[in-house]
Amino acid sequence: MTWTPARRAVAAALLFLLAAVLAGVTPLEHGVEYHVFGIVEGLFALLLAYLLVLRGAWAAPAGVAGWAAVVYGTVATAQVLEFLFPPPGLVQWVVVAGMAITAWSVFSGGSPRRLVASLASLAVILALLRYSVIPVLWTRIGPAQGTALGLGDLAESARRIFADWRPVRPAGELIGFVAVCCWALATRLVWAPRAIDAAADPPV
């Protein structure tokens, strides 16, 4: 079977859909939660989709299949950001505001390869913050809720202002990782940066 651009676009759209579905599924201690991205993740995904198409990391949409790949890619990006962004609170406001201010200057320059590498670094930092830094600090700052004659409740309120965090099972992180893999594979399928790469990344 020959991989024509239209076939690649359809396969990418299917993988993006899988990424979007998986990124929103969060197994908790008792039950499962299904998250859908909010306005913050949605707007950021639109900006990233624009940059990815502009820089040629995603093929410019052409025809129904091409547009499907871009639309599903944008939704998948928003869902992956929902998985990676810190939970609502002061930490999220600072991180997202910082990213929004610097996004254009960081992501708009360089080659598509550098853009994707920057996105990968950003994903690592966000994952570190959400799945390592916040949980560790959460369990160490102040007494637990319902303890210390009411002081624990006060400490809990303060913690919730910084990050409204809820524990996630390791399976949740694994599902999120699979979602990110699907996103990366789909991006590889619609990868079309040959001309720009040649100009921006000359062979050494």
Binding site: V10, A11, H30, V32, A60, G63, A65, A198
Partner: protein, 198 residues
């Protein structure tokens, strides 16, 4: 949205426009159909929010026959079981959420009944679920004597019980509602007054 050429570079090697051959390509057409079907399934999955693999089946039944009484009532019972599991494990927030879902499913089942037996079954299930939730709210909203109770939660629990009392119910359920309303009412009285019977 065509990508513009960037300064100092050649034109992007963009995907060529699909021609008539692409549109007739069975792989592309089939892929788009599969994409549409999977999108609908994904929306239904998120809408039904099954909590276990076993619930996927009942969620699918509800999705296929949203107006049917039996799948709705089964789903409500599943949610009650999930709430009881969460409650036993000490997850109060999770249990309250599951009870609320069970209430909603039981109410929907009640709207799709075909005879009085089904109506009574759905009403009793709804009422017992509301009372279970109100009991849990009473337990979570009440504090030791030296701390203030969470009156907002208690008031919400009392309002739920009052809603149950406004519906015709079997005698045991009505008695349970009355007893629970009395307990919540007494708990909402200020300070030591909660120990004095009315």
């Amino acid at each position: 949205m065509d990508a513009p050429a960037l300064p100092g570079t050649t034109q992007l090697a963009a995907t060529r426009s699909p021609g008539p051959r692409d549109r007739r390509d069975p792989w592309v057409a089939g892929g788009l159909v599969v994409l549409g079907v999977m999108t609908v399934l994904a929306i239904l999955l998120y809408r039904a929010s099954p909590q276990t693999a076993g619930e996927v089946g009942s969620a699918a039944l509800v999705a296929v026959a949203p107006d049917a009484f039996t799948p709705r009532i089964s789903r409500a019972r599943e949610r009650v079981s999930a709430a009881q599991r969460a409650r036993a494990a000490g997850d109060t927030a999770g249990a309250l959420a599951r009870y609320a879902e069970a209430e909603e499913e039981a109410l929907t089942a009640r709207q799709h009944t075909t005879d009085t037996t089904q109506t009574r079954t759905a009403t009793e299930l709804w009422a017992s679920t509301v009372l279970d939730r109100a009991e849990l709210m009473l337990a979570s909203g009440a504090r030791p004597w030296y701390q203030a109770d969470n009156n907002q939660v208690l008031a919400e629990a009392l309002a739920s019980v009052r809603r149950v009392q406004a519906v015709p119910l079997a005698a045991p359920t009505r008695a349970r509602a009355e007893s629970l309303a009395g307990r919540i009412d007494r708990r909402m009285r200020a300070g030591p007054l909660e120990w004095i019977p009315r």
